[in-house]
């Protein structure tokens, strides 16, 4: 493949700070119904110690991307193209043995539902200790002690006794704390958090989010935080990447993306989400239509069938030509920079109340 045929994303020069670089990543699954293009030409960077928030709805490819980073996809049905580079090491082509050494050690992951993500058959303490023993060669006793220490750190009262419990004896919030303890036990440089608070109650969610932030400050971990909730992302992330139908449509710092969003999809998300301080006289303005099937993605700009600003772009470009997403602050949309600014200020912002 020559560089000319590349549809998106001129490769961004990896800055000195960025220690995770994803370049032109494509993930396809073969299913009975055909090939699902779960991720298509995605590039992004994560800086050491910072949090990248990936926001998107179901089927946007946000979870798939992150399973791919740790090589947790099903190799039988999945095809991956592109590069994933963690501290100079290429992960797409790494062997299973190399990936095993990395998982839970340099890069760890926490999942959405801590009840199903923890094994019901082993004690919490054992499950937390396992990666520590595996990666440091520590003894059973040392592993257990370290697990108890981590449980205390994430706020499990009476950790010595509770380590002997099974996950079903923990409450939802405590289970997620145990997951966090398990993920951080080897002091990883990268933590991937896939909707870690979606299954939790709101008061517990607030505790867990703050806990993650405080622990990040102490451990210096970089976090890739995946969520569908803009409120959560605003709270957690330094940078935001908005995904739609398998590719990134907008990126920038949290302030930039939330306060002066440029992409019609981001506008739509902000407009359709009620807030505690939003104007009650205005109705929500939802995004029309439904997300596309990834078996059959729309041509050109993937968002064009649901976009209400198509007519402001000259000609048929939205249907025929896929808009590019530049590195740093940008949005993948054919509207001109001026148009994006004026539309947001004059038409979108007032309705946000």
């Amino acid at each position: 493949m020559t560089t000319l045929t590349k549809t998106e994303d001129a490769p961004a020069p990896a800055g000195p700070e960025s220690f995770l670089s994803v370049r032109d990543l494509s993930v396809r699954f073969s299913t009975e119904d055909g090939v699902v293009k779960a991720v298509d030409g995605l590039s992004f960077d994560v800086e050491r110690g910072k949090t990248l928030g990936i926001v998107g709805e179901s089927g946007s490819g946000k979870s798939v991307t992150n399973l791919t980073i740790l090589g947790l996809h099903n190799p039988r049905t999945t095809t991956i193209d592109g590069e994933i580079i963690l501290e100079g090491k290429e992960l797409v082509t790494a062997t299973e043995k190399e990936m095993e050494k990395l998982r839970g050690n340099k890069a760890a992951m926490i999942f959405q539902d801590p009840l199903t993500a923890l094994s019901p058959y082993y004690t919490v303490g054992r499950q937390i200790a396992e990666p520590f023993m595996k990666h440091t060669g520590a003894s059973k006793k040392a592993g257990w002690e370290r697990a108890v220490e981590m449980l205390g750190k994430v706020g499990i009262p009476n950790p010595k006794e509770r380590a002997k419990d099974y996950p079903h004896q923990f409450s939802g919030g405590m289970r997620q704390r145990a997951m966090i303890a398990m993920a951080l036990i080897c002091d990883p440089d990268l933590l991937i958090a896939d909707e870690p608070t979606t299954a939790l109650d709101v008061t517990v969610q607030a505790q867990i989010l703050d806990l993650l932030k405080d622990l990040q400050r102490e451990f210096g971990t970089a976090i890739v935080f995946i969520t569908h909730d803009l409120g959560v992302i605003a709270d957690m992330a330094d940078d935001i990447m908005v995904m739609y139908a398998g590719s990134a449509v907008e990126r920038g710092t949290t302030n930039e993306v939330l306060r002066s969003p440029q992409h019609p999809y981001t506008w739509g998300l902000l407009n359709s989400m009620p807030r505690l301080d939003s104007d009650l006289s205005a109705a929500l303005s939802p995004i029309p239509g439904t997300p596309p099937s990834l078996l059959n993605v729309p041509s050109g700009c993937r968002f064009h069938p649901r976009c209400t600003f198509q007519d402001r772009v000259g000609g048929n470009r939205c249907v025929t030509e896929r808009p590019l997403l530049a590195p740093d602050r940008s949005s993948a949309c054919h509207l001109t920079a001026d148009q994006k600014r004026t539309i947001f200020v004059e038409e979108i912002k007032p309705s946000l109340g």
């Binding site: 740790l70 947790l72 039988r76 299973e96 095993e100 050494k101 990395l102 998982r103 839970g104 050690n105 760890a108 992951m109 999942f111 539902d113 199903t116 993500a117 923890l118 094994s119 019901p120 058959y121 082993y122 396992e130 990666p131 595996k134 990666h135 099974y166 079903h168 004896q169 997951m179 398990m182 993920a183």
Partner: protein, 325 residues
Amino acid sequence: MVQFILRRTVGALVTLFLIGAATFFLFVAAPSDYASLACGKDCSPQRLEEIREALGLNLPIAQQFWDFMSGIVTGRDFPDGHCPAPCLGESFYSGDFVWSTIKDRFPLTLSLTVGAAVVFLVIGLGTGMLSAYKRGSVVDKTATGASMVLSSFQIYFLGPIALLIFVYSTGWMEDPHYVPITEDPVGWLIGLSLPMIVMATIFTAQYTRMARSSLIEQLAEEHVRTAKAKGMSQKYVFFRYAWRGSLIPIVTVFGIDLSSLLGGAVVTELTFSLQGIGRLAVDGAVNKDLPLTMGVMLVGAFAILLLNILTDITYAWIDPRIRLS
């Protein structure tokens, strides 16, 4: 947990009583009269009455039932001697005490079922695991195909063929027979290996497929993915995480299969002309021998209920959610 076992034991005793009662009354309600059968064609009314009296058939039905049930606990006195507890009565046909007949025959049936179970669990689950571990490989496809073919066979079909090949034409194996394991373990194994294997074949195929699908399902579980995500090796994830969970449906089916396993033993014994409990059950039914039939029924039911309680304890051992609730 202790409470649970106690509760199950009480339930099992009640079930045994009900099975006993059901067998007894069904038999009594049956139109044929054992005494007139035993009396023969030129039977005089006096002779018939004598037989009735000797067998206790002249007593009220409730009395007969009570004598039978209490005999199990306390033992019973018959004209030809004392029948010690657990007394299951005296065979109408042979006049032997039922319990001692069963005691003689039971070890063979037990050997056959346990032996077959070990064979099909080891081979079936082993093949299933290998299939799941190497999913999509040649090994997997061969195993899946073979189990499809094998599971469509029947013991009464496979048994004679095996006999023909391994015993009669080639002489590689001895004609199946029973030697008590306490006397000669090697002889025991040699004597019963053919029926054990034939009986196990049918089940092996089923357990191969079940272990495979159960493991594949478990491998897709989120907690298995978590174990992988924390860097545990593929083998460790497979044997510690996926395997444990896949046992639950297997144990469930095994619990249900216990009775068909006994049924399989009956067919196997008949096929290979072995003198076990199965044979006894058939004899009891054919000869309308009420005490023998009831004895076999109760012992069989007892064995199944006991194994079911063991199955439940196995569940608790596998899954702490059951153990600790």
